[in-house]
């Protein structure tokens, strides 16, 4: 072996390289930390807050104080607690809807791209049809359908497991929304995955796998899909803010989270009623919301750069 024939002395994987590049990207790391902070605030710190739904009409529109850090709203409810509890819904919408849509999108796109031919044509016409209908209309219809079931589910859970009725209601109320968004959000992702799969299945290592007698499922799941995960991860971090935004829009329209429960969208909608007198009711939830969106976008950009194979060659 000649000298130029020797590899780098240090072993490293694509993921390890990506992590190192990621750690160098200040914006992306900042975004990551803010998201971690948001997460711990909404899911851990929230338990120690006052009840977000406790009405106190005497103390409405209170200024920030030690008791109420961000003051209170029109019904005297603690705004800080409402923002944190609302964050739970908003963040969960983002994560669950993304998880559902990524799972469907990868499998659907990969099968379509790998099968090719007529199967591919039919599967993609289905996607085209769904894309042709306005997204929000679809979501609203699907959510309405799922809500019918969720009412039954609530009754069933309360009767059989003796869960707290209010808690179960809160849970089953928002779940149709999560899934309605997730079940329809995979369309674009499946297109991306399909295109990636189509280019990767022409690569020689896939042909080598065929020549070695590997089965179709093995080739698809062990050799092709791991190679499309990079772009998929990036795209999905960018869809999280999208889903949070859709939840906000739906709640703003009165179709999402039901009162008295909150989400960032609900809070912004409520706050906008008092725009001229109590502007903090709009600004504070808006700040949390946009901070999370920015962070996720920076994180997504950072991931895209970190997973870029061309950058790995420098």
């Amino acid at each position: 072996m000649t000298n130029q024939d020797q590899a780098n002395p240090q072993g490293s994987s694509l993921w390890k390289d990506a992590r190192a590049r990621m750690a160098k990207n200040r914006f992306a790391m900042g975004g990551l930390w803010i998201i971690i902070l948001m997460f711990s605030l909404c899911f851990i710190f929230a338990w120690f807050c006052t009840d977000p739904n406790q009405v106190n009409l005497i103390n409405k529109f209170a200024s920030p104080s030690l008791d109420h850090w961000f003051g209170t709203d029109a019904l005297g409810r603690d705004l800080f607690a409402r923002i944190l509890y609302g964050g739970q819904v908003s963040i969960l919408v983002g994560l669950i809807a993304t998880a559902v849509s990524v799972a469907i999108g990868i499998v659907y796109g990969a099968v379509s791209g790998f099968a090719g031919g007529r199967t591919d044509a039919i599967m993609m016409r289905v996607v085209d049809t769904l894309l042709a209908i306005p997204f929000l209309v679809l979501v609203i219809v699907l959510q309405a359908t799922l809500s019918d079931w969720s009412g039954d589910a609530t009754r069933w859970i309360v009767e059989n497991f003796k869960w707290d009725k209010e808690f179960t209601g809160r849970l089953t109320n928002v779940i149709p929304l999560f899934f309605a968004l997730g079940l329809l959000g995979w369309l674009t992702l499946s297109r991306i995955v399909r295109a990636q799969v189509m280019s990767i299945k022409e690569r020689e290592f896939v042909e080598a796998a065929v020549a070695l007698g590997y089965g179709k499922a093995r080739i698809l799941f062990r050799h092709i899909i791991p190679n499309v995960l990079g772009p998929t991860v990036v795209y999905s971090t960018l869809t999280v803010p999208g889903f949070i935004m859709y939840e906000a829009i739906l709640s703003f329209l009165g179709l999402g989270v039901e009162s008295p429960n909150s989400s960032w969208g609900v809070l912004i909608k409520e706050g906008s009623n008092f725009l001229e007198t109590e502007v903090q009711l709009l600004l504070l939830p808006g700040l949390f919301f946009s901070l999370t969106l920015f962070s996720l976008n920076f994180l997504g950009d950072g991931l895209r750069d970190a997973l870029d194979v061309k950058a790995a060659k420098d």
């Binding site: 072996m1 000649t2 000298n3 130029q4 024939d5 020797q6 590899a7 780098n8 072993g11 490293s12 994987s13 694509l14 044509a121 690569r203 020689e204 290592f205 042909e207 080598a208 796998a209 065929v210 020549a211 070695l212 007698g213 590997y214 089965g215 093995r218 062990r222 050799h223 791991p226 190679n227 194979v309 790995a312 060659k313 420098d314």
Partner: protein
């Protein structure tokens, strides 16, 4: 006085991994009307030198650390961006390696060839077009007036490269930088392009800096040669002197490791047989000649004699009869009418056990498709493939599985043929799992380690990912993966074509060694006649999906019967002047 004088040029790349001295203290000059060949392997700094001259390198990471480049009395490196633009394309032009991607697909040929004139000179469009067409005729484009109004995709690779040359020369520059201009082309096309360049040099009196990795090309065309290795010039001088009496061990190795039609070695010498390199105190390389180089070469030659003596009567392993593979284009739902491309059109061939059949042809002749059709990676239209007296074309998937174990393939591009998300261990263990070779993990692991040793890699590579390896190492891993199922027949599809000659020699030696040790049978597909001749017992020549000639390799090279084979043989650049 020399036209271009490069003195102590240093271009370094500063990356996260450290400083790469791509061009390290390089000095040479070019006179008017002279062709200077710059030869080196990938990573030797030859292209970087070329790009530095016109300020074409991305900065950072590249930085010119020192030296001067004097062009026609003026300094190039310190010129402002605006002044440099006046020189680029007007006084110094450049042609690039890949003619397919260097032309803008959305512009007509005539617009692209006229563009440099319109930018650099104040002439009317008519004059510019007339000059463009005149230049296109000079580079050998027939019916230039008509063809000028077509788009790049209507031109073949060779024609596109001619367009590129016309574009570069249309402003009558003093110096032409040619960066691997023929590497992506077939030998016959390459021979024509080289002739055009040579004629134009005399005709227009331009100087040419010809960058290439192929010593043979340089021998044909250059007046003087500069050999680069790892950023440094190891030797420069007249072409004849360098080829006849190279003084530097690296150059000697480079000349010897390239298989030629006259090669007599059983195993190819490698650069390592000539060269020792040590890392000096300042991080640069110190090269010295091996003292035992002569003895090593003698050892290689001896093996040839014993090979001839032990040839026994071979039995047929693979027989292909009248195989046809047709592709259909168009004919979609609303597409154009169907068009049939006969990629393989009635091919017969026979390979005996333990032998190598060479398959030669230019790009598009169907040689790769034939290899894939034999392995049923591509369904064939008709014909039969008899492997060890079993008809393969009629087998279903599960019946074929047993043969997948016996027949393997090694691909051209070692960068694309390994799954980038799998470690070497995973890559090599998977075929054993699928074919149930070895009973438990530790047994399979032991087999992998011995496989890696067999292909010349250590077991400490097991947990690495493919991107950490060089091209030559990756190809060794591909070979190991093919061997993991213990096949008896391997299709080598252009498996050394993407490599530098020194690495190519190592891989060819490895394939030969494995063949003898494991009694393997090869179908060796390549566009390079000298490589095929080195590897093969018998060979066939393909063109347009059909066999032009077949028979004993030695015999075909001595007395080519078909016109096409003769043309191919003539087009090979002579790799040594002395023969």
């Amino acid at each position: 006085m020399s036209l271009l004088k490069i003195k102590n040029l240093k271009t370094y790349f500063h990356t996260r991994a450290g400083t790469n001295r791509a061009v390290d203290d390089v000095s040479f000059s070019i006179n008017k009307g002279e062709i200077v060949g710059v030869v080196g392997e990938s990573g030797s700094g030859k292209s970087v030198t070329c790009h530095t001259l016109l300020g074409l390198l991305p900065q950072p990471p590249a930085r010119v650390e020192g030296g001067t480049v004097t062009f026609d009395g003026g300094e190039l490196l310190t010129l402002s961006h605006l002044r440099l633009r006046e020189i680029r394309g007007k006084r110094i032009s450049m042609i690039f390696q890949d003619p397919m991607s260097c032309l803008n697909p959305y512009l007509k040929i005539i617009d692209q060839v006229t563009e440099p004139i319109l930018i650099h000179e104040h002439v009317s469009r008519q004059t510019a077009e007339a000059r463009a067409i005149e230049m296109m005729k000079k580079v050998g484009i027939r019916d230039a007036e008509l063809r000028a109004h077509s788009y790049p995709h209507e031109f073949s690779g060779g024609m596109r490269q001619r367009v590129m040359i016309a574009m570069a020369l249309v402003t009558k520059p003093d110096l032409l930088l040619a960066d691997e201009p023929t590497t992506a082309l077939d030998v016959t096309v390459q021979a024509r392009i080289l002739k055009i360049l040579h004629d134009l040099k005399d005709d227009l009196g331009i100087a040419v800096l010809f960058v290439t990795h192929d010593l043979g090309v340089v021998a044909d065309i250059a007046d003087r040669v500069v050999v680069m290795y790892r950023g440094k010039i190891v030797e420069q001088g007249n072409t004849r002197d360098i080829f006849e009496k190279p003084s530097h061990p690296y150059v000697k190795g480079l000349l010897a490791c390239r298989p030629t039609l006259e090669t007599q070695y059983q195993t190819l010498p490698t650069v390592d047989d000539f060269l020792q390199s040590e890392v000096g105190a300042d991080g640069s390389f110190i090269l010295s000649e091996r003292t035992d180089a002569k003895k090593r070469l003698a050892g290689l030659q001896k093996q040839l004699k014993c090979e001839i003596s032990d040839k026994d009567i071979p039995t047929t392993l693979l027989q292909v009869k009248d195989l046809k593979v047709h592709f259909h284009s168009g004919g979609g739902f609303l597409g154009k009418p169907r068009r049939t491309i006969k990629a393989v059109d009635g091919v017969d061939l026979t390979i005996a056990k333990g032998q190598t059949l060479g398959l030669v042809g230019e790009s598009g002749c169907g040689k790769t498709t034939l290899g894939r059709a034999i392995l049923r990676l591509q369904e064939s239209k008709s014909g039969s493939v008899l492997y060890d007296e079993n008809e393969l074309t009629s087998l279903n998937r599960s019946e074929m599985l047993g043969f997948r174990k016996r027949m393997q393939i090694i691909f051209q591009d070692p960068y694309a043929s390994l799954n980038p998300r799998q470690t070497i261990e995973q890559t090599l263990i998977e075929p054993m799992l699928v074919h149930k070779i070895g009973s438990n993990h530790s047994e399979r692991r032991d087999r992998i380690v011995s496989l890696l040793e067999e292909v010349g890699l250590g077991s400490n590579f097991l947990l690495r990912y493919p991107h950490e390896f060089s091209g030559g190492q990756r190809q060794r891993i591909s070979v190991a993966r093919a061997l993991a199922v213990e096949p008896e027949f391997i299709v080598c599809d252009e498996c050394v074509s993407a490599m530098d000659v020194s690495v190519q020699a190592q891989v060819l030696n490895l394939l030969r060694e494995l063949q003898q040790k494991r009694n393997l049978t090869y179908l060796f597909i390549s566009h390079d006649l000298s490589v095929v001749k080195f590897m093969s017992d018998d060979m066939i020549v393909m063109k347009n999906g059909q066999v032009m000639e077949s028979g004993n390799a030695e015999e075909i090279y001595k007395n080519p019967r078909s016109e096409y084979t003769r043309e191919l043989l003539d087009a090979i650049p002579k790799s040594t002047l002395s023969g």
